[in-house]
Amino acid sequence: MRKKVIFRGVALPYLLLVPQLAVTIVFFFWPAGMAVWQSTLRQDAFGLRTEFVAFENFLDLFGDALYLNAAWNTVIFSSSVAALALGAALFLAVQADKHIRGAGLYKTLLIWPYAVAPALAAVLWLFIFHPSIGLVGRAFGAIGIDWDYRVNGGQAMTMVVIAAAWKQVSYNFIFFLAGLQSIPTSVLEAAAIDGARPFRRFWTVIFPLLSPTAFFLLVVNLVYAFFDTFGVIHALTRGGPGNATETLIYKVYVDGVQNLNFGSSAAQSVILMVIVIALTAIQFRFIERRVHY
């Protein structure tokens, strides 16, 4: 799209673009380029010699049990977070969409967790599930469940999934509610007159009309679970116990910052960049299609 009437000027538009472009080049293109370059290099243990190894860092990753473990953790973690956050949000949005008293108040009380930082959400749930100071953690202990997410990998994964999903529900809720409210009442009335029961009405009429929103949210939730949940894992489990909650993004941090293995960390960054670009491309293709409807 293009405007017909525009201003003349040669230097001015470039001047206006300079701040944005400068920040973009210095903090996006330079580091992204460095990541690609470093992913083909390997340093010796003392950081004295660097040699060019082409794709060896990538090949090593795909043969590394710890990396495959992190990839598998990411799959489990992301799909659980997305399923939990989308399911809960859809349920609440359907309830809040009904014409009941206090709908506005319910809405306000359901959207505020969006403002809570992922790391802070983790801390709040730690207060609940901590085995010695947490309400639920102690209750588990009292009824004989051996609860300590600091030593049990499965419990640690459950914790990070709950904390990460809890924070994302309100985001999904806002979009589902907007989607529900844009469905014309005439469609719903027609279905009701045809004698469709509420449950059937939901799955045959409402849900198909919501599916564009649901698909959009699915991609957003996956991106969130992949990249924005570093804080949840760092605050709660540090990737542990063992490597039970180490996801791909957490491993980039561990290898780059703690193990100072820059070649491998850069290769992992490049893989993540490819994943993000793929997810974004899917999102855009899909949005373009929706525009044509």
Partner: protein
């Protein structure tokens, strides 16, 4: 027939009862949902009003205690938390978070307004190349390129500075796209009129474009303020000088490995401090928040 009228009344009563039951179940579901959201917050607020021993013993209190004033003043002026960490007062951390969030939000909005204005209202060589250069950054969240970006910051000598903390997060494809989209809806007649009146592009920007953009700016500000306030990985890497500590990172440092001997009451107090500003922004600016959220993501 009398039986028919009875049937109708019975049916109507049954339908009323069913509607009432449905309404009750709806309210119940929503209240349960809200309770799940509110439970961790309630526990945290209650915990922030008790003394260290009560929480350390594991007697999880469900009702507020009497230590609120002591906890809140201690956390605000001195800080606390872990046994082995150097305490940073909550006031310092909150100040740093506030400055960081505002600089990021204002910075993103400012440079995006300018670049969107250039792309929409001018025609110049390489216009689309520049637009795509900005656009592609949408796909690269800072978390993905964190280590190389950190190395760039080291080369530039920006480690442990507020500039280093905020500047790399200021580039924003989202805001540029939103403003571009909005600018395209400004009628051509406005530009014509400005030209006839002899107003240059900068005058047009200041007197027409900016006033028209105020709701968009407000909506974006809410979203970007929360984005800035909630940053975690970047400040964790960039800042080792604890005078620059932001509250979210500082809070998790207070917890450390989750030691039972921590001063949990002060940690919970600091958590309340960390929660309040962004939650207040969302609740008080709800209309703009929802507008910003639904428009930036499309």
């Amino acid at each position: 027939m009398p039986t028919a009228t009875i049937d109708v009344e019975a049916l109507a009563a049954a339908s009323r009862r069913r509607k009432a039951r449905e309404r009750f179940l709806t309210h119940l579901a929503l209240i349960l949902g809200i309770a799940v959201f509110a439970l961790p917050i309630w526990i945290t607020i209650v915990g922030s009003t008790h003394d260290t021993d009560t929480i350390g013993r594991g007697d999880v209190p469900l009702l507020p205690g009497t230590e609120a004033i002591h906890n809140y003043t201690t956390a605000w002026f001195q800080g606390g938390g872990g046994r082995n960490t150097f305490a940073v007062p909550a006031s310092t951390m909150l100040w740093n978070s506030l400055i960081m969030a505002i600089l990021i939000a204002v910075g993103k909005i400012a440079i995006s307004l300018l670049s969107a204005f250039a792309v929409v209202f001018f025609s110049f060589p390489l216009r689309m190349v520049f637009f795509w250069m900005i656009f592609i950054t949408l796909m690269l969240p800072v978390e993905v390129r964190i280590i190389p970006t950190f190395q760039v910051m080291t080369d530039l000598g920006l480690i442990d500075t507020m500039t280093g903390l905020t500047l790399p997060l200021i580039a924003s494809a989202t805001a540029t796209l939103l403003f571009r989209q909005f600018f395209l809806t400004i009628p051509d007649e406005y530009v014509e009129a400005a030209k006839v009146d002899g107003a240059g592009p900068l005058r047009f920007f200041k007197d027409v474009v900016l006033p028209l953009s105020t709701t968009n700016i407000a909506a974006l500000f809410v979203i970007l303020f929360i984005y800035g306030w909630n940053q975690y990985l970047w400040p964790l890497l960039m800042v080792s000088n604890r005078d620059l500590e932001t509250v979210i990172v500082g809070l998790t440092k207070m917890i450390g490995i989750g030691d039972t001997q921590n001063e949990w009451n002060l940690i919970m107090t600091t958590a309340v401090f960390a929660l309040l500003p962004p939650v207040a922004v969302v609740v008080l600016m709800q209309r703009w928040f929802i507008k910003g959220l639904t428009e930036t993501e499309k």
